[in-house]
Amino acid sequence: MSAYLHLWLIPLAPFAGFLVNGLFGRRLPKWLVTAVALLAPLASFSAVLCDSSGDLLPHVETFGQWINAGLLHIDFSFVLDQLSLTMLLVVTGVGFLIHIYSVGYMKHEEGYARYFSYLNLFLFFMTVLVLAGNALVMFVGWEGVGLASYLLIGFYFKKQSAADAGKKAFIVNRIGDVGFLIGMFLLVANFGTLTFTEIAAKLGQDPGWQGGVVTVIALCLLLGATGKSAQIPLYIWLPDAMEGPTPVSALIHAATMVTAGVYMIARNHVLFDHSPFALSVVAVIGAATALFAATIALVQTDIKRVLAYSTISQLGYMFLGCGAAAYSAAIFHLVTHAFFKALLFLAAGAVIHALGGEQDLRKMGGLWKKMPVTFAVTTAGVLAIAGFFPFAGFFSKDAILYAVFQQGVNGKILWGVGLLTALLTSFYMFRLWYMAFLGEPRGESAHTHPTPFSMLAPLTILALLSIGGGWIGIDRVSGWINMERVSGFLAPVLGARGADAGNVQLELILSVIAVGAALFGWLLAHVFYRQDSTLPEDTRAALSGGYKILTNKYYVDEIYGATVVKPLMGISGLVLEVIVDYGILGGLAWLLTGIATLTGAVLQRWQSGNIRAYAAWVAAGAAALLLFVLVPWQTVWPQSLEFVWKMAGH
């Protein structure tokens, strides 16, 4: 607590980049835009690295009061602890790599400076979100990343589908934000504070906080998290968000922003710990989303959509981990997922870039010869996400599955769902791998553009992280993954998990089963897409009903359209537009103008232009004033009333 770490530098650097590129970017030369855009996240990343010496944690910095109303005090405060440090390293580190990649990817695009200013703006809000010391500051970042996401999804705003996707993401996120807001209101009402540490302290003091209002708060926060992290029921925006440039999909819609929901749950884990019901809801939502999205990913033909559904599925894993109260495992998976999913998206971007914008897997093939580096890194990413030893995904996924397995009978069921998802994940990722890189070249894939070095370098670094990133989860002593190091590092924030650390044998068995499932998935993909070229067609014909449901994504968009969007539009059209807008608001406006016109029509006769009439009115006015002042009305009125009364014959 002694040193002052200047935490404000971390968000400020990208914000400065945003201002420079956003205000002057169009007039600046391209190299200067690039330099500013790259320096901003680099400065941020360096600041995080400088602050990362563990002995100073947790470190709180307050920059002034924000709200001071009665008993409620809310400060602009940043907190650097093990949790936010981990997130910051991922956000700024992966963010910096993706900035570098974007330089190559966006080179020939219109709006180069605009793109980088948005990207920097995103980093600014994301670091605010992560550093926030209370829920309100977090909400600022939360809304800000939503804004940046909206701007970047709709980056090609001349394309109708991109503009619509941006709006969809924004609106669906608002639904979640309502949950977050109500959760905050309830926190203020029940705890009188929004500071995370104070909430935790108050919960810790009184063991009576259990269920009830805590459950409601936790569920409200969970609704917010499902919106941001694309979980059932609010996941529908993420696949459409692929309309944005591919590096954006990698940074915002895979590695960082969509994990904000997981981070928020981990940050508020004390609340969830006090509500077993909310925890099980988190676990069920996570498991359901993981399986659901994985099944949709099986049949998608757009390379980015496969990855989008895979992201939803992996986020489901993180929620599953949170639901099992294994927050550190969830955060661990968040980190490794950021590595390999950013890698996969960027590799997909490289493929799309090389093929001149082609995203259809069916028109790819045989790319391994033409893009050997991309092929190699994608292989690393696929192996990592499928959960093969010793790649990153293996450690984190197994940590989650192991934690889930220990949660009683229901945990066993959820573990089974997770295992099935692992199988499916392996299948669809190897399907992508086979379709894009192996086999014979199809369609456009005969002609490829070279991939610039600025795109290959981040890919290589991320590939190394995807291969080796999981080893931070290895316990040095026992040599096996019992999460000692990760959970030990995060323990001051997330709390230590006690009894589960011991059973190495059980964990070993579970890991072997999980890898077996992944291997089986690989084998299936191999049979389907490598050996027997007619098998996919035959299967599709045999299971045409199921296939149709899957390609149409379970008709969820259609169901939401019919049950939510259409009635809402109907109500808007009838009640809001006709009655409120035309009737009440329009009518009011007409009434006011009518009064004004009518009064004017009467009063304008006064303005006769006749000087003597004016003089007469002045004289009459003066007379009236005199009458008003001089006549003692208090006595005259009763008398005259009495007079009239008597005259009337009483």
Binding site: G609, N610, I611, R612, A615, A616, A619
Partner: protein, 110 residues
């Protein structure tokens, strides 16, 4: 003091002066409103001013205060200046329009 004068002074009470003032003022107002000739209108204004002067003097005498009399001097001075300017305007208007009927002089432009 001449007792006759003292009696005379006593015999004209305050209200008479004020009534005269009010009557003169009302005459001025009516003249202003009713008359069409610009010069008559102008005279009506003078009449109103002098009616006010009368009530000023009356009250000054009643309260033995000299302020009211000073006001009268100011009013007379302003009235004299106004008469000079006003007559000049009237002559100019007559030269331009060949009429002094107030109803006809209702434009700002010549």
């Amino acid at each position: 003091m001449n007792p006759l004068y003292a009696q005379f002074q006593q015999e004209v009470p305050l209200s008479w002066y004020l009534a005269l003032s009010a009557a003169l003022f009302s005459l001025g107002v009516v003249g202003f409103i009713v008359k069409r000739n610009l010069i008559t209108v102008f005279m009506s204004i003078e009449l109103m001013l002098n009616a006010v002067n009368l009530s000023f003097v009356t009250f000054a005498h009643q309260w033995h205060a000299v302020k009211g009399q000073i006001f009268v001097f100011f009013v007379m001075m302003v009235a004299a200046a106004e008469a000079a300017v006003g007559l000049a305007i009237i002559i100019a208007v007559f030269r331009a329009r060949a009429t002094l009927a107030v109803d006809r002089i209702d434009r700002m432009s010549l």
